[in-house]
């Protein structure tokens, strides 16, 4: 501490150390937030449902996705990544997950939404197991913080079924 640059160095290193500590505390404070998100997805229409030339089933859906994710946002939240996956069981795989739609929610103001959309990514099966298949629509999300730990969770919505015939 006896010269100017020794003191400047000491202030800088101690300040950065404390900055790391308060960022860690900010991350820990997220654990006191217990989010209670709601989501509701309606399958409005099966636009088409066919077997591809290579033998895989493909279906096109029109969806209405409405969700209220505002309770996920804390002071330490940078953004929330959310995606909707169709999940079903087939003889080859005990769990198939096909991402149908995703989005990045930049702020709390945009966290309550209702979207009318066709599936953004193609709903293709590995095989031809989709006819009459019951499936779940699961809304997954990753809460991305400004500093610290990332949280991930999901809401499973059950009771959807694909038609028995191609159309």
């Amino acid at each position: 501490m006896h010269t100017f640059w020794y003191r400047a160095n000491a202030v800088l290193t101690f300040a950065v150390t404390i900055l790391a500590v308060i960022c860690g505390m900010a991350s820990l404070s997220d654990n006191f937030n217990f989010p209670s998100p709601h989501a509701h997805v309606q399958v409005l229409n099966i636009n088409w449902f066919q077997k591809q030339p290579n033998g895989n089933d493909e279906v096109s859906l029109t969806l209405n996705i409405s969700a209220d994710l505002q309770s996920m946002f804390t002071w330490n939240t940078k953004q929330v990544f959310v995606f909707l996956a169709a999940e079903y069981e087939s003889p080859q795989n005990s769990l198939n997950q096909v991402s149908l739609w995703d989005g990045i929610i930049p702020s709390k103001e945009h966290a309550k939404f209702s979207i009318h959309t066709t599936n953004k990514y193609r709903f293709v099966d590995q095989g031809n197991n989709l006819r009459g298949k019951a499936f779940n629509l699961t809304l997954h999300w990753h809460v991305m913080p400004k500093t610290g730990k990332m949280f991930a969770d999901k809401i499973v919505m059950t009771g959807y079924r694909l038609p028995e015939d191609y159309r």
Binding site: M1, T3, F4, V11, I18, A26
Partner: protein, 136 residues
């Protein structure tokens, strides 16, 4: 006191290695600035500046976290803390006069000559012997 520089508080600093004093005995602004940045502060000052630095930084960190959390704004936390760091730097890094209130009182050279160092009883041979054997 040394010649001519007892008109300001920095006069208490007398390190032989630093020769920023002008011959006329009056400091220019530049010289005063150089003193502020280069001259070492006294022991009590160093202790005080380190304590001040730690207390101020921790204090600002706590208040920054409390403000940021209560306002729900991460940016506000960073702003408060950044302001605190700048203020702490300004207070503790430059060699302010209040860090130099306890100067070391060195003996005047003429005074030191009147009290010579006591001679050691067996000065030369005991020291030279090991060095010679070592050389061989």
């Amino acid at each position: 006191m040394k010649k001519g520089c007892d008109d300001i508080t920095l006069s208490s600093i007398h390190y032989p290695s630093i020769s920023v004093r002008s011959d006329s005995g009056k400091k220019t602004l530049f010289e005063a600035l150089v003193l502020c940045f280069q001259v070492e502060m006294d022991w009590q000052g160093q202790k005080l500046s380190e304590l001040l630095m730690q207390v101020m930084l921790v204090g600002f960190a706590i208040s920054a976290f409390v403000t940021g959390y209560s306002m729900g704004s991460f940016q506000m936390m960073l702003l408060v803390y950044a302001g605190g760091v700048i203020l702490t730097t300004l207070v503790t890094v430059p060699n302010w006069p209040f860090f130099n209130r306890h100067p070391l009182k060195w003996l005047d050279p003429s005074e030191a000559e009147r009290h010579p160092k006591p001679q050691q009883a067996t000065p030369a041979p005991s020291k030279k012997k090991p060095s010679k054997t070592h050389q061989k």
